[in-house]
């Protein structure tokens, strides 16, 4: 099935936005005291969130993890509120309670983000169960990493989802590393997608740096789920171009490995195609880039100018 031009442009836009967003954070978090906590980015992996979310409708739900910015921006979260939350400001989407790690944006159906590795999986099962229970025409996407695929929660969640044929996509973003451990150091199975077979569920391997392939795989899996065909495990093969977090010196990642993958960057891969096939002009591409830049600049200004929460606000929001 063809991918509509409009979708391609949308995906290019969310990838550009995500990239600008991350790049600015790389710089910002170097400035002592500007951004508290860890800084975990998905530079180079933007095709995953952008491709998947382009295949979703607003009523579809995503549950995401510590490496969430690209997923959330692609799902339509407000960059200002995200940035303010990353700055731990009162105007952030979670009033500064979350910071960068647990950004929850229920307005765009991204209601739960967890930094417990593997935590997204059972929650996504529950969220998809609710969709099935209510006979909604909507699905849930669960993002997680290759490392998370070795948590017990992965196993229990996939088994239950397959058993009950829940409308969920388990989207494994295999970026070759879990912390400092390379893929071969955390499992012997060659493709994580193969694990789908252990639950009687289809498993799909996708080039995670090809946003169109990601989109197509997500669209197909979504369609199957809506038709009652149950869950799909999609493994997007990609690469963590930066460290686990921004303080990670990446001493264990071979330089040429990083370089090779940087050359597979998903953004020029799509933009070159769109420009060379004259879907957009180079000027339009430039325009898209500067719009993304402007959005990020505005978001940073908003975040910087926003106040921190008052200390006693810490006491709020524990209970309903």
């Amino acid at each position: 099935m063809e991918i509509p031009t409009q979708k391609k442009i949308e995906m290019l836009e969310t990838m550009l936005l995500s990239r600008k967003f991350s790049d600015s954070l790389v710089e910002l978090c170097k400035i002592q005291g500007k951004i508290p906590g860890m800084m975990i980015l998905s530079t180079g992996q933007e095709a995953v969130g952008s491709g998947v979310c382009a295949a979703l409708e607003p009523g579809d739900v995503i549950i995401t993890n510590h490496r969430s910015h690209n997923h959330l921006l692609s799902k339509g979260a407000d960059p200002k509120e995200l940035m303010a939350e990353i700055f731990c400001k009162k105007t952030g989407c979670n009033k500064g309670k979350s910071g960068t790690l647990h950004l929850a944006v229920p307005e765009v159906n991204a209601p739960c983000t967890t930094t417990v590795v593997g935590g997204t999986l059972p929650i996504a099962v529950g969220r998809a169960f609710a969709q099935q229970y209510r006979e909604e025409s909507a699905i849930t996407v669960c993002f997680f990493g290759d490392g998370a695929a070795n948590e017990g929660s992965f196993h229990e969640a996939l088994n239950l989802a397959a058993l009950w044929q829940l409308p969920v996509i388990f989207l494994c973003e295999n970026n070759l590393y879990a912390g400092a451990q390379r893929y071969e150091e955390h499992t012997r199975v060659i493709d994580l997608a193969k694990r789908a077979g252990a639950y009687g569920m289809p498993g799909v391997i996708v080039d995670g740096n090809d946003v169109q392939a990601v989109y197509a795989a997500a669209r197909d899996a979504r369609q199957r789920a809506l038709e009652g065909g149950g869950p799909t495990l999609i493994e997007c093969k990609t690469y963590r171009c930066r460290g686990h977090g921004e303080t990670d010196p990446q001493h264990y990642q071979p330089r040429d490995e990083i370089k090779q993958w940087q050359e597979k960057c998903p953004i020029p891969r799509l933009s070159d195609e769109l420009v060379s096939s004259r879907v957009i002009s180079s000027e339009e591409l430039k325009g898209m880039e500067s719009r993304a830049e402007k959005i990020v600049e505005d978001a940073i200004r908003f975040a910087e100018e926003s106040p921190y929460p008052e200390p006693h606000e810490a006491l709020e929001d524990v209970y309903v």
Binding site: N94, K95, P111, G119, P122, V125, A130, Y133, S153, V320
Partner: protein, 325 residues
């Protein structure tokens, strides 16, 4: 008035709430088809009444069961999931403690998790410590959770209904020993509020704060003590968090003496919390040292004489009372 065991009372509460609200569903290992065909058990007959769409038997997967509740609750359903025995709370604890209890806070109040986790607990059935391990103190140490531990069938029914309607995650712990003790339960619809202790017996000489399976021995000890002229006030805590400090403190104000009785092991048990609250806020009321009547600091053993040794009883409370009155 009807007389029900606690399992039957729970069953009635589930049935009523499922009739009232289509968003309520139950899930767990054997909540539908069970190895127990026993009308005294909490989920007997619900599958037949509500069908497999709302009574969900699950694989043996405690993390997934708890995650099911977290995700479904966020969507606005009202899951009531079962953890078969209290020690298996460990396997569900990441989902409950790091997710159900925290995700609302982390969202800045945007998401909420109206779920109930029912847990079967209590020693006394000879199965040993991997089945019998009272861990209410764990849940009570986690802000974001409410922890309910009823001692009577009537409270179990009214509090479970309240728990299901509560918009927060509630840990609802049932003592299996109480499943088989018929007690009066009102026939009409009622709700029992969470967070309110209940004075099950008035007394002037000492306050006994207790909950769950220990209410029975506490009440019978009180009766015996009364024959010797010691009047114990029995405060049935019912809810551990939010803690009803007021009731505890005003009782201790009256009696000047405090005993806390629970089945869980002593060190780190919830008796400590109650002691601390009274020592902080009711120090001037106190006329005598605290006594804790609890399980000893050992895992629950299987052999009957050993298990009986473990479970605190009437005699232990009487002895403790006499030490301080």
């Amino acid at each position: 008035m009807q007389k029900l065991g606690m399992g039957q009372a729970v069953n009635q509460a589930l049935r009523e709430e499922m009739h009232r609200d289509p968003n309520v569903f139950i899930a767990g290992e054997g909540v539908g088809v069970s190895i127990h065909v026993n009308p005294m058990f909490p989920t007997t007959g619900l599958l037949e009444e509500f069908g497999p769409g709302r009574v969900k038997d699950t694989p043996v997967s405690e993390a997934a069961i708890a995650g099911l509740a977290v995700g479904a609750a966020e969507a606005g359903l009202r899951p009531v999931v079962e953890i078969m025995f209290n020690p298996f709370f460990t396997l569900a604890s990441d989902m409950i403690v790091n997710h159900a209890a925290k995700l609302r806070y982390l969202s800045g109040g945007k998401s909420s998790f109206p779920l109930v986790v029912r847990i079967k607990s209590g020693a006394g059935f000879g199965a040993g410590c991997q089945h019998s391990h009272n861990l209410e103190a764990w849940a009570a140490h986690c802000p974001g959770l409410k922890v309910v531990m009823p001692s009577t069938s009537a409270d179990a029914k009214g509090m479970l209904k309240s728990a299901i309607r509560d918009d927060n995650p509630v840990i609802f712990i049932e003592h299996m020993g109480l499943y088989f003790a018929p007690m009066p339960v009102p026939e009409e619809e009622y709700l029992t509020p969470l967070g309110k202790a209940d004075i099950k017996r008035q007394g002037s000489d000492l306050t006994v704060v207790t909950w769950s399976g220990m209410l029975g021995p506490a009440m019978s000890a009180a009766q015996k003590l009364s024959q010797e002229g010691i009047e114990a006030e029995i405060v049935d805590l019912r809810t551990l968090t939010p803690l009803d400090k007021e009731t505890i403190l005003s009782s201790v104000k009256k009696t000047g003496r405090l005993i806390v009785m629970h089945e869980a092991t002593r060190t780190g048990g919830f008796a400590g919390e109650i002691a601390a609250v009274v020592m902080e806020e009711g120090f001037s009321y106190l006329k005598a040292p605290l006594r804790r009547v609890t399980g000893p600091d050992i895992p629950v053993p299987a052999s009957p004489p050993l298990e009986r040794f473990y479970i605190p009883g009437e005699e232990d409370l009487i002895k403790a009372a006499k030490e301080i009155v």
